[in-house]
Symmetry: C2
Subunit: 125 residues, 2 copies
């Protein structure tokens, strides 16, 4: 019965807020971008880690688990010894690339201005 499409950012269950919570976590957007660049190929765990300098196993693992749970990423286990695990974006995950690209574009175009504002603001203290 939830009248969801009301642009109601004020609902605690507001979809926008929940999405921002997700893509706002440190490694999510980066993971989606790496998987999007590799698409339609799958990427192995170790490959992902190599392509994301600075991430720890723990955070990569947690980020992927969360993305899989959200249906944005698919996980495929090759039952070899040792096992190899492959990840790829689902259709849903790929559909997020557009919005993320828009955010990237804004950031690249305007963050310098934000930096200047910060500098000005701090100097005025």
């Amino acid at each position: 019965m939830t009248s969801q499409v009301r642009g109601d950012l004020f609902d605690p269950a507001c979809p926008t807020r929940r999405l921002l919570d997700r893509i706002g976590t440190k490694w999510t957007s980066m993971t989606v971008k790496v998987l999007a660049e590799a698409a339609p190929d799958e990427v192995r765990f170790a490959d992902l880690r190599r392509r994301m300098p600075g991430i720890s196993q723990k955070m990569l693992s947690a980020t992927l688990r969360s993305l899989v749970r959200d249906g944005l990423v698919a996980r495929r286990v090759e039952p070899t010894v040792p096992p190899s695990v492959h990840y790829r974006l689902t259709d849903l995950g790929r559909s997020l690339e557009g919005p993320l690209a828009v955010v990237r574009a804004w950031a690249e175009e305007h963050m310098a201005e934000v930096d200047r504002a910060n500098a000005t603001h701090d100097a005025a203290e």
Copy 2:
């Protein structure tokens, strides 16, 4: 477009990451939206608070301070007693509305699917 494998997302100073850090905090996008809806009018602190159910003074104050520091919001003090403080989006702040609208659109269109994925995933445990 441009270099992909070592894109800026991996730089610790990456603009996208910094932007997501900002709009990912709980009240930022909501504040921007409320101010955008009111534009070009200014909004007083108490009004803002009334339009954002659930927010505490502390967080509204902190969110606004951060937005002002980033140059997205302008603050104007009326030197009355008691003082009244007015906020409005800057041009920079208004330029963020587009990207936020894209994010909102994706969320409203797809978060139900995310919810289903979660339910399916949890049921499979």
